[in-house]
């Protein structure tokens, strides 16, 4: 849920935009807490940075479009977009990469389409995809949890890394960062090694990557709570996870030395964050019940296709954007017939 629903005015009703956005943020708390535990304070700084840039961009765009600034600015939709964007970015990405992504998300992907409720593409994923394509070096430098546990950068050090590109004192950024588990497996396979050799590296844990598996469980917990509170509907998360899982099972059984295990796919990268928080954005997803199942399954399958065979180690952002483009067509063909319509 990054934006908001068409036809919903920002007010204080129980299911108003601001209350939904607030509950989405609450649901992200376990994931963010685990993120800080495993990867240090970078994510907190990134969330604050992305949120302030997003709010300033939102304010400027609302002013330019001559819309009321305060009600839209306080509806929380820009904050949710910014936090999801920050969670998708590497936690120690330079400040200007995060800022460009946040500005692109709010200005191009949201306000050029009329803002709140009209954007066809998920703003957070559009911003993320833009910087991933444009700044691949900055976007593939991820902290290694097993290195961080030895020398964890504090709040000041994290800020120094993000804003000045260098930690203080004995910390060396190069020593702390490396490839994500998904990227590591991809490059090892590219060097003709087997999956069983690749997952022996210290970045791997029980279910997925070390640290990443716990993050995924945190997002899963928040997502289940959102389902319980009826903020999101079950079709998209279930069909997305099922699509990814079934693809992974089929190819894993065909050759477990080339394809990663299905459990690994579920608990690494942005799978859980995407399934419950990103793909479920009601504005950019398909809206009919059958349409939502097709939409979710499409994201799961495309994520697998990009992870397994294309150049990017995690394809979730692209899969979401691709299915965003397909969503109006899916709606068009899954609309329930009105009585008498379509007969000749």
């Amino acid at each position: 849920m990054t934006s908001s629903m068409p036809g919903f005015a920002p007010d204080s009703e129980p299911h108003s935009v601001s209350s939904i956005m607030r509950q989405v943020l609450y649901a992200l708390v376990p994931g963010i807490a685990l993120y800080v535990w495993f990867f240090g304070f970078g994510i907190v700084i990134n969330c604050l940075l992305a949120t302030s840039v997003a709010l300033v961009s939102e304010g400027i765009m609302l002013r330019l479009r001559k819309r009321p600034v305060t009600p839209f600015l306080t509806d929380g939709s820009a904050v949710v977009t910014a936090v999801l964007l920050a969670l998708a970015m590497p936690p120690y990405a330079p400040w200007w990469v995060t800022s460009i992504a946040a500005i692109f998300a709010i200005v191009i992907a949201k306000h050029l389409y009329g803002g709140l409720g009209y954007n066809p593409f998920n703003p957070a994923m559009a911003g993320y995809a833009l910087v991933l394509i444009s700044f691949p070096a900055e976007m593939t430098t991820w902290p290694l949890p097993h290195m961080l546990s030895e020398m964890r950068p504090g709040f000041i050090d994290s800020a120094m890394i993000i804003f000045a590109d260098q930690p203080t004192g004995a910390l060396k950024l190069d020593a702390l960062t490396g490839a994500t588990p998904l990227a590591h497996v991809k490059s090892e396979l590219g060097n003709m090694r087997m999956v069983s050799e690749a997952v022996g590296a210290p970045i791997f844990g029980m279910l997925g990557g070390k640290g990443w598996e716990w993050l995924s469980l945190g997002y899963l917990l928040g997502g289940v709570w959102l389902l319980y509170k009826k903020i999101i509907k079950w079709q998209i998360p279930v069909s997305m996870l099922a699509g990814l899982f079934i693809m992974a099972v089929v190819f894993y059984l065909s050759d477990p030395e080339i394809y990663l295990s299905p459990v690994f796919h579920l608990f690494s990268g942005a799978t859980m964050l995407g399934a419950f928080f990103i793909a479920t954005d009601p504005v950019t997803a398909a809206t009919t019940p059958l349409g939502r199942i097709i939409f979710g399954a499409g994201i799961g399958i495309l994520t697998y296709v990009i992870r397994a065979w294309a150049a990017y180690p995690d394809g979730l952002a692209f899969a979401v954007l691709l299915m965003n483009a397909a969503a109006p067509t899916i709606d068009h063909y899954t609309q329930p017939r009105i009585l008498g319509e379509g007969r000749q």
């Binding site: 330019l64 479009r65 191009i108 992907a109 306000h111 050029l112 389409y113 009329g114 803002g115 009209y118 066809p120 593409f121 559009a126 995809a129 833009l130 394509i133 495309l302 296709v305 990009i306 065979w309 294309a310 150049a311 990017y312 394809g315 952002a317 692209f318 899969a319 954007l321 691709l322 965003n324 483009a325 397909a326 109006p328 067509t329 709606d331 068009h332």
Partner: protein, 193 residues
């Protein structure tokens, strides 16, 4: 078999005619206002691309190469495209008047489409035989069609969106095309060139 699957994957998603090669953007924009016209244009382009890609391959290999006249290929292909468009029109008119009515105005549009000439020329850069050439045209047409239908549904939704005045119309349509193009960049590396 896998060779044909690779041609399809490459032409439909990785090197998509509109989103990656940026060919045929003008008819793409012109006919995407409604889903129905988009479907008509899609079928016409699909048909034309398959035929003209195969026909231009045959003429190039069996006429221009033996005569040493490869440099005439652009002029010849323009002719091929026009003839194929006319031929398609007559055939469809004879076989199915309903289809003709559906495709009618789109066939001449497809005939003057840079994408059709572009695919015929791009095909020659690949080590393709006759069937592969037809498949290449078919895949390019399929990629064009899928994106055109998605785009037309998106544009129907954009028509009711509260788009800021300076961005209404062509601007927001091209911004959307750019975002779609960005999404398709996720397929980079899917087919090793």
């Amino acid at each position: 078999m896998s060779e044909y699957a690779l041609i399809l994957a490459s032409t439909v998603v990785v090197n998509n005619l509109v989103l990656d090669r940026l060919l045929g953007v003008c008819p793409f924009y012109a006919v995407s206002r409604k889903v129905e016209t988009a479907i008509g244009m899609s079928s016409a382009t699909l048909f034309m691309l398959t035929l003209s890609s195969a026909a231009s391959y045959l003429l190039f290999t069996y006429l221009l190469v033996p005569l040493g006249l490869e440099y005439l290929r652009i002029i010849l292909f323009i002719l091929v495209v026009a003839v194929v468009a006319g031929f398609t029109r007559w055939t469809v008119e004879g076989v199915s008047p309903v289809m003709y009515h559906l495709l009618g105005i789109f066939l001449p549009l497809a005939a003057v489409n840079c994408a059709v000439l572009g695919v015929a020329l791009l095909n020659l850069q690949q080590p393709h035989g006759f069937t592969q050439s037809a498949f290449y045209g078919f895949g390019a047409g399929l990629g064009f069609s899928v994106v055109l239908i998605f785009f037309s549904s998106l544009r129907e939704r954009l028509a009711v969106a509260d788009v800021p005045t300076p961005f209404q119309g062509a601007s927001i349509a091209l911004v959307t095309l750019g975002l779609m193009s960005m999404a398709f960049m996720g397929f980079a590396g899917l087919v090793k060139a």
